[in-house]
């Protein structure tokens, strides 16, 4: 029995192409994790974040990023990185209505609900136009981020998970 509760949160909009990458990654990981890891794909406001983070020790957030870097670039940010981040430098794409991830983290800090350990994975977008498919560049990043997150949690892939990954890889190869 572990004494650490972990929350994985995928953020984005499923209908805005690459903006969906956070949710798609979280959906892929959902069935592969033990019960001390909760996976959330419906966080839409700061108060949703606070709710998810109640009694959580470690959290991993996955979101689309628009920073001008090469599409598909993977960012991994720790809490220290986030504290030193220039908000103008890296824009996390989240829903409208003035909610963004950095604001949520800031509020959680103020209300003392921030988990002890926080990691943010960001994937640089190519497009956020209307659509349900991620771009080729972002698709390629998906299996890489999945593996990184599993390693971070000291989890190994189960068989169906590996099948999922191979399907993504095959699809990517076919598209390339």
């Amino acid at each position: 029995m572990r004494d650490t509760n972990i929350a994985i949160i995928g953020i984005g909009n499923l209908f805005r192409s690459d903006d969906a990458v956070g949710i798609k990654l979280a959906q892929l990981i959902r069935d592969q994790v033990p019960n001390y890891v909760s996976v959330h794909t419906n966080v839409q406001s700061e108060s949703d974040l606070m709710d998810v983070w109640k009694n959580i020790d470690k959290t991993i957030l996955i979101d689309a990023v628009s920073s001008g870097k090469k599409s598909g670039t993977i960012f991994r940010l720790t809490q220290t990185d986030l504290e030193n981040l220039d908000p103008k430098e890296l824009v996390f794409r989240c829903s409208t209505h003035d909610f963004n991830l950095l604001n949520g983290i800031e509020l959680a800090k103020i209300f003392n609900t921030l988990p002890k350990e926080i990691t943010v994975y960001g994937i640089e977008v190519k497009t956020t136009e209307h659509g349900t498919e991620c771009s080729y560049e972002v698709q390629q990043a998906i299996p890489v981020v999945l593996q990184q997150i599993l390693s971070e949690l000291n989890l190994s892939m189960n068989r169906s998970f590996e099948t999922n990954l191979s399907m993504i890889r095959e699809e990517n190869n076919a598209r390339s």
Binding site: Q44, E46, S47, S95, T96, H97, D98, N103, E106, I110
Partner: protein, 435 residues
């Protein structure tokens, strides 16, 4: 000597409002030449793509107009469809709808009071900055909003774009035990709302008043949410079905939202301040007691004080939700049968930010032939522009940054939901033949 040079203030992207809009003010010296609330959120064509859809789909389609106030659109479309075929919901069906709407008011008002509007009164730029200064009240405010969401989830199936509403009632009605689970939170929320009303009443309000025509629904036995006659402080008193005889929408080139006016009179205000001024007597005894203790009674003509009216409405919604839950007995069937026939129906309900109007014409197969939706922000849009013109006129001594902030403050008094109001814009091309 006053400058004669023409200057403009442009706020390209209004923050802390729902949706995408901007502001354009042109002035010369101390004289405002032009004010435009520019709603450039793309047109959304809802009224057009409702055509040809089944009447029963209207609540689920119109729900998508807004993620903050979906229930306002669902309720208005259901009531209009029911009005068309002569079905009236009563008893627990009506009470459940009112409960869901209370949830939406709490959620929407909670967001606006604590995250969007209150920062203005401290010269702050965001809810985050406000939370740093007032962590306790902002944290509680967000908890209030969350309880509103929970009511919507319990009655509507989910908090954003609920799925449990149908023309004639509900797909499933909750049990008494399910509703009672909310009770402790509602009692807590009611106490916090009292505290919040005291907090907002002590804010520092600009000294600005306008002789508004306020418009809201009015019901003989309850604070207006679901239904009522349309009244104003200038003698309007009409049924919901007479709406289009007295109100019209006009297209302006700078906005994708149509602007509503009262025929022959012009701009008017809908929303919490209008309801408060016109229907104060229908508040519950607790709300009236709190209003008296903070010395906030009708008539209030200061739009900045809408934050107090909004907070009293949050308190009312907690009180009303508790009343509904205590008296609730589940309906025998979750919904009433609704006949399909060729008919036209209208309805108004009170969205958090003001009265909303829907009209549908349905053919003999139950397919929608025509839809008309007038959201509250369309109705407030012209009033916002007039207020801006008057409010900033004496303030041109301020720096441009401060002037911009003052303009944004005035807009936020109305809690505009720009996403809701962006309609199809009809283009009329006119050739200028003058030389």
């Amino acid at each position: 000597m006053a400058s004669t040079k023409t200057k403009t203030i442009k706020v390209n992207y209004l923050t802390r409002v729902e949706g995408e809009g901007g502001l354009y003010v042109k002035y010369r010296g101390q004289e405002v030449l032009d004010v435009q609330l520019q709603i450039y959120e793309p047109p959304r064509f809802y009224e057009s793509f409702l055509r040809g859809r089944k009447f029963s789909e209207a609540p689920d389609i119109t729900s998508r107009i807004c993620g903050i106030c979906p229930i306002a659109y669902q309720m208005s479309s259901m009531h209009a469809m029911e009005n068309a075929v002569g079905v009236t919901l009563q008893g627990p069906h009506r009470e459940l709808r009112r409960l869901a709407y209370c949830g939406e008011w709490i959620e929407s008002h909670g967001l606006h009071i604590f995250m969007l509007h209150a920062p203005d009164f401290f010269g702050l730029h965001s809810g985050i900055e406000l939370a740093k200064q007032f962590p306790d009240i902002v944290n509680k405010g967000l908890q209030l909003k969350k309880i509103g969401n929970e009511i919507m989830t319990l009655v509507g199936g989910r908090e954003i774009h609920p799925v449990n509403f149908k023309v004639g009632g509900f797909y499933r009605s909750p049990t008494k035990a399910e509703l009672l689970k909310l009770k402790d939170q509602l009692v807590w929320g009611r106490d916090v709302a009292v505290e919040a009303a005291h907090w907002v009443s002590k804010l520092n309000f600009p000294n600005y008043e306008e002789d508004y025509e306020f418009v809201s629904l009015s019901h003989p036995s309850e604070y207006p949410i679901n239904e009522g006659r349309i009244i104003s402080n200038r003698g309007l008193n009409i049924s919901m079905q007479e709406y289009e005889d007295h109100f019209e929408e006009k297209q302006v080139p700078h906005s994708t939202a149509l602007q509503s006016v009262i025929k022959g009179r012009g701009a008017y205000q809908v929303g919490p301040l209008a309801r408060f001024n016109l229907c104060y007597d229908q508040f519950s005894p607790l709300v009236k007691q709190v209003a008296e203790s903070i010395n906030f009674k009708p008539v209030c003509n200061n739009p900045f004080k809408s934050i107090i009216a909004r907070t009293l409405e949050v308190l009312y919604c907690f009180d009303e939700s508790l009343r509904i839950i205590d008296n609730y007995t589940p309906p025998t069937e979750p919904y009433l049968q609704v006949p399909v026939k060729s008919a036209t129906g209208q309805a108004c309900t009170e969205a958090p930010r003001g009265m909303i109007y829907h009209r549908y014409a349905v053919d003999a197969d139950g397919l929608i032939e025509h839809a008309k939706i007038v959201p509250p922000t369309s109705q407030n849009q012209l009033m916002i522009e007039l207020d801006l013109k008057k409010f900033i006129q004496p303030q041109f001594h301020l720096s441009k940054t401060d002037l911009e902030m003052q303009c944004e403050r005035m807009v936020r008094n109305y809690d505009p939901c720009i996403s809701c109001s962006a309609h199809f814009l009809k283009l009329k091309l006119e050739e200028d033949t003058t030389s």
